[in-house]
């Protein structure tokens, strides 16, 4: 009835959504305190009266959000590169089992669905940050940093997918084309 992949993607999307929302609020509070402003909470959210202060707090808050999502993606990429069940080394497998960390070994279905969701969040955050930078609500270097982080994550993700494809190629059966042994029959 339900598409399995859609259910899986919705399941994987909940954690990063909570991370994005909570990091936005936490980062605004932390950066405001670091800058030394009194936060005023109105009906429409956190209200700022100083434009420079607003830009500063907004920029560092978005930067913290980008870093958090990038850390999530890096964790998934680390699992994909080191603990992917298709190309994990036997020694590493044995060590993980001995430390009871075998849950780190995941298949392509889990890893790629997680990766796709987290990268989608980073992509949308980069888009929104670009828009904010265009209208002058965020420093341009923050949106540039987000864009390059996104590019790096995408490239690393593609490298892992390439590894997966190459593995499939190498596992194809190789048939012997020598038929000379049939001549004697």
């Amino acid at each position: 009835m339900f598409s399995k992949i859609l259910i899986k993607l919705i399941d994987e999307a909940i954690i990063p959504a909570v991370v994005v929302l909570s990091m936005r609020i936490i980062s605004i509070v932390i950066v405001s305190q670091a800058v030394g402003t009194q936060l005023s909470l109105g009906t429409s959210g956190f209200v700022f009266t100083d434009q420079l202060l607003f830009k500063k707090v907004n920029s560092y808050s978005v930067l913290i959000m980008i870093i958090c999502i990038a850390l999530g993606i890096l964790f998934i990429l680390a699992k994909a590169f080191m603990f992917h069940n298709t190309h994990i080394k036997p020694g590493v497998t044995a060590r993980l089992f001995s430390y009871n960390l075998h849950s780190l070994i995941q298949n392509s279905y889990d890893l790629y669905s997680q990766g796709a969701i987290w990268i989608s969040y980073l992509f949308m955050l980069v888009l929104v940050t670009g828009g904010l930078a265009f209208f002058g609500s965020v420093y341009i270097w923050v949106s540039t940093f987000g864009f390059f982080t996104f590019l790096v994550c995408i490239v690393l993700f593609i490298i892992d997918i390439e590894k997966e494809i190459k593995r499939d190629d190498s596992e194809k059966p190789i048939y012997d084309t020598d038929t000379s042994f049939l001549e004697n029959v």
């Binding site: 259910i7 993607l9 999307a13 994005v20 109105g42 959210g45 700022f48 808050s61 949308m124």
Partner: protein
């Protein structure tokens, strides 16, 4: 019929997934920049409306007292 329901369900799931992906981005708009004049203006407006309400109440009380006095 089953096929149509299946397709519709999957479309709904896809829309739900898109909503989950897009909704957290609205948290960016949690910060608002307002000029001090606007905030002061809103504050003054609030006080004014409360004063007007109080004056109306007092007028009503005055009216009732006058009626009692006449009686």
């Amino acid at each position: 019929m089953d096929k149509i329901i299946k397709v519709l369900t999957n479309i709904m799931l896809f829309v739900f997934l898109l909503l989950i992906l897009v909704l957290p981005m609205f948290s960016i708009g949690i910060m608002k920049l307002e000029s001090p004049e606007n905030i002061l203006g809103a504050h003054n407006q609030n006080i004014n409306s409360r004063l007007i309400e109080r004056i109306k109440e007092l007028e009503l009380e005055n009216k009732i007292l006058k009626e009692k006095l006449q009686e």
